[in-house]
């Protein structure tokens, strides 16, 4: 629950973003000749069947042979997500269909769903027209909307698992799932927050509860899990959480975003980190703030990355600065990994928190300039 919201700026009319022409979509496109590219994922490897392919619609078939839940990504420069599949349980296969113009990309498996993943190069050759400025902006929103949908799908799955654990009175499992489910929420938080009535029900902290309103959602269960450990009466709260999450997922999936909203959302996510996560306010009972920190950072990066082709045309120096500062924050945060997750906020010294705070501020300044570059 925040004060900053993903509001449509009054000046949005400035943007003559033509309809979502050309790129994107593609779900109905014909399957490429030669069939899907097999990806064999394990806990320590990510074998991609073919690393030099032709431009166009590509399908990857990802099989998880490991013991951890996995993810598979295709990234363009700056970790721009071209496509991804989340939540591939051990033993399962899932397909990713993605439209790839000529260029160099990276593939990544993320066993345990964390970190940079196991990366590999992917070269795509063939004909692909260069993208015109307005088309680049249109593609940015289409690309980010694909990202939002992938996150909402995972949010729903993980919330269902979390709710089941709560209702089954399995405290240990609920505690383990709590920061994971929230990861998907935190990545797309500004989108979710644009639906003002639902956000406080799902993500409201205790102090936001007004007279006549019930304290529900993730943080209500967090409090019970980490203070009394008694969740035996939280069944109705958990049910309610799932209903609310389903409602917000439906709305977020239908939401049409503008490039300016992407820019402002990327900034808002970093402001979240700077104001609530760095202080430990957000996860005051579980202290899993660094999970949120990382998710906010990834979400911000995804929005910036979607805008990247447009920014490269409009503000190439800004792109360089953004790359450097994103890398700096990731390096600073990366020191606090713990297994597949993150250290607790309470395990960090004041000095370590200041380093993180400085790096977020250093990143948020250039990110705050994206909107102007997009608007002109």
């Amino acid at each position: 629950m925040r004060t900053t919201r993903f509001v449509a700026p009054a000046a949005a009319g400035l943007l003559a973003v033509a309809g979502l022409t050309g790129c994107g979509g593609g779900d109905d496109a014909d399957a490429p000749a030669g069939g899907p590219i097999a990806v064999k994922a394990t806990d320590s490897a990510c074998e991609v069947g073919s690393t030099e392919i032709d431009a166009g619609q590509v399908t990857f078939k990802v099989t998880n042979n490991g013991s951890k839940v996995n993810e598979f990504y295709v990234y363009a420069a700056g970790d721009r997500v071209m496509g991804e599949v989340e939540n591939i349980a051990p033993g399962l296969s899932r397909e990713l269909r993605v439209e790839l113009p000529a260029g160099t990309y990276e593939t990544a498996c993320k066993p345990g769903m964390s970190g940079r993943g196991i990366r590999g190069a992917l070269k795509v050759s063939g004909t692909a027209a260069s993208v015109a400025p307005d088309a680049a902006l249109a593609e940015a929103t289409a690309s980010y909307q694909r990202y939002v949908r992938s996150q909402t799908a995972a949010l729903l799955t993980k919330t269902e698992e979390f709710v089941a654990a709560v209702k089954g009175n399995d405290v240990a499992k609920a505690k383990a799932l709590y920061p994971v489910a929230r990861t998907y929420w935190e990545r797309i938080e500004p989108v979710a927050e644009s639906f003002g009535d639902l956000d406080p029900k799902i993500d409201g902290r205790e102090e936001v509860v007004e007279e006549g309103m019930e304290f529900t959602g993730f943080h209500r269960i967090e409090k019970d899990l980490w203070t009394t450990g008694d969740i035996s009466k939280d069944g109705p709260i958990a049910d309610r959480l799932l209903v609310d999450v389903k409602a917000i997922v439906a709305k977020a999936d239908a939401e049409k975003l503008t490039p300016l909203q992407l820019a402002n959302g990327a900034k808002a996510l970093l402001d979240e980190v700077a104001s609530g996560k760095i202080t430990g306010e957000e996860e005051r009972y579980s202290h899993t703030d660094l999970w949120d920190f990382n998710a906010n950072l990834e979400g911000s990066k995804a929005a910036v990355a979607a805008l990247r082709p447009a920014l490269e045309q409009r503000a190439p120096d800004l792109v360089k600065q953004l790359d450097a500062e994103f890398a700096n924050v990731e390096a600073a945060l990366g020191k606090h990994r713990a297994g597949d997750g993150w250290k607790l906020h309470t395990q960090l010294s004041k000095t370590e928190l200041k380093v993180l705070s400085d790096s977020i501020n250093a990143l948020a300044e250039p990110v705050s300039k994206i909107a102007a570059a997009v608007a002109r």
Binding site: D317, A364, E365
Partner: protein
């Protein structure tokens, strides 16, 4: 705001940048009539920072102090009423980024001291989608004699791990020697030191805070605020035009201070001379800061005679004990009616006096501070001591050593923060910037 790295930035004259800015007053007018594209109107506002020299004594309290000059403004400038002081740690190891920031800082300070916005676009001149490049709280306020003074700490040359991060360790002046531990020091490391300091003084606290806030913002990713201090009520006069103010003990402070009019003494005691050390410091000065907590409540219930004996001056006129007027020279040989020295051996004025310190003097321009209360209901208050000098080893260090050992006032004081900085000479012309000689 860390973009203009590389060659272009060095060749872009600060005065040109400043000239393209827009005065805060003018920005307000334009905003008032609803002009949208203010940025486009800004051209030709005229160079406002031209001219050398230091503060003119005739400038009004709201006027602008010239930014360019042989020495940095804010040292002999007639002490303004308000202070915002900040010490930064440099968090980048990229020398080019540090240099680019110092260039940006110089340009922004030139604009702000002239009463203009920190950035070229300004608080209200840009596109609606972008955050303004000035924070805006000084819109409509006059320059208020803002001065912005920069210094470099020992840790900029070699950090706590001994690293020479920016390839300047061999340029560290010998005079920038770490201060010794003084008897009774209760320094808090998190409130002490720093790689770079910025002293902003103005007659309006909002203007001083505006200056620091905008420089801190420009510096994000390059520097990180380590500690900062607000001050009010100057505790020294640096000009004979100024009356001697009072500190929070209620005593006049700065009676015997070095003054802007003492040209010969300033050469001898204040400004680093060619040959003193590395060339880049010639025309500069060394700055010592000390945050001195005063135990106000216990002082307030000590008898007047004891307060005066501790200080060595009368509380009313500020005259040395045994003399009549404030500016009378203290007579350290004089005896009182009881046959004891009129000015006690442990009196503050005796121990700090140049006659007792081989002629060593300081230019002090400290400020009172009150940081609220301390949770026990005691004022968290005292003196933020600021002293400029030619060589701390010969000036501040021996004086403070003597005071720390013997000063009767120590019973009522706690030194909680300490800083030492080398303040380079003034920004000479449009192509110059803070630290150019050090980094070139």
């Amino acid at each position: 705001m860390t973009t203009p790295a590389g060659g272009d930035a060095t060749s872009e004259p600060n005065s040109q940048q400043a000239g393209r800015g827009i005065s805060r007053r003018r920005a307000m007018t334009l905003a008032g009539v609803g002009a949208a594209g203010v940025g486009a109107v800004a051209a030709g506002a005229g160079a406002l920072i031209a001219g050398g020299g230091q503060a003119s004594a005739t400038a009004t309290a709201a006027g602008a102090v010239p930014f360019l000059g042989e020495h940095q403004a804010g040292i002999t400038t007639a002490a303004q009423d308000r202070l915002h002081f900040v010490a930064f740690d440099v968090v980048t190891r990229d020398r080019d980024r540090l240099v680019a920031m110092l260039q940006e800082w110089t340009a922004a300070a030139a604009r702000m001291t002239a009463g203009k916005d920190a950035g070229l676009i300004g608080a209200v001149g840009g596109v609606p989608e972008a955050p303004p490049d000035d924070t805006g709280e000084a819109l409509g306020l006059p320059p208020s004699q803002l001065t912005v003074t920069v210094g470099f700490g020992p840790s900029l040359f070699r950090d706590a791990q001994g690293r020479d991060r920016f390839g300047i360790a061999d340029r560290r002046p010998a005079a920038l020697a770490d201060l010794p531990h003084f008897a009774g020091d209760a320094l808090k490391p998190e409130l002490s030191g720093g790689d770079i300091c910025v002293q902003a003084c103005a007659n309006d606290p909002q203007v001083a805070v505006h200056a620091i806030r905008n420089l801190a913002r420009i510096g994000m990713g390059v520097v990180s605020v380590r500690w900062s201090q607000l001050g009010f009520g100057r505790t020294s006069s640096t000009s004979r035009d100024q009356a001697t103010p009072r500190n929070l003990f209620g005593f006049k402070d700065g009676t015997a201070n070095l003054k802007a009019e003492d040209a010969d003494l300033l050469r001898e005691q204040l400004w680093v001379q060619p040959g003193d050390g590395p060339d880049w410091m010639a025309g500069g000065s060394y700055l010592v800061t000390r945050k001195i907590r005063m135990l106000i409540e216990t002082w307030d219930r000590s008898p007047l005679a004891e307060q005066e004996a501790i200080t060595g001056r009368t509380k009313g006129s500020g005259a040395p004990l045994g003399r009549r007027d404030e500016f009378d020279e203290p007579d350290f040989a004089a005896k009182g009616d009881d046959g004891e020295p009129a000015i006690a051996p442990t009196a503050h004025v005796r121990l700090a006096h140049p006659d007792q310190n081989g002629g060593a003097r300081l230019l002090r321009r400290g400020y009172n501070f009150v940081d609220g209360s301390d949770g026990l209901g005691r004022l968290d208050a005292g003196l933020f001591f600021i002293a400029y000098q030619r060589d701390p080893r010969k000036q501040f260090v021996p004086i403070q050593t003597r005071l720390a050992r013997n000063d009767a006032m120590n019973e009522y004081l706690r030194h909680v923060s300490s800083g030492l900085f080398a303040c380079p000479p003034g920004v000479r012309d449009a192509a110059d910037w803070w630290g150019r000689a050090l980094f070139s």
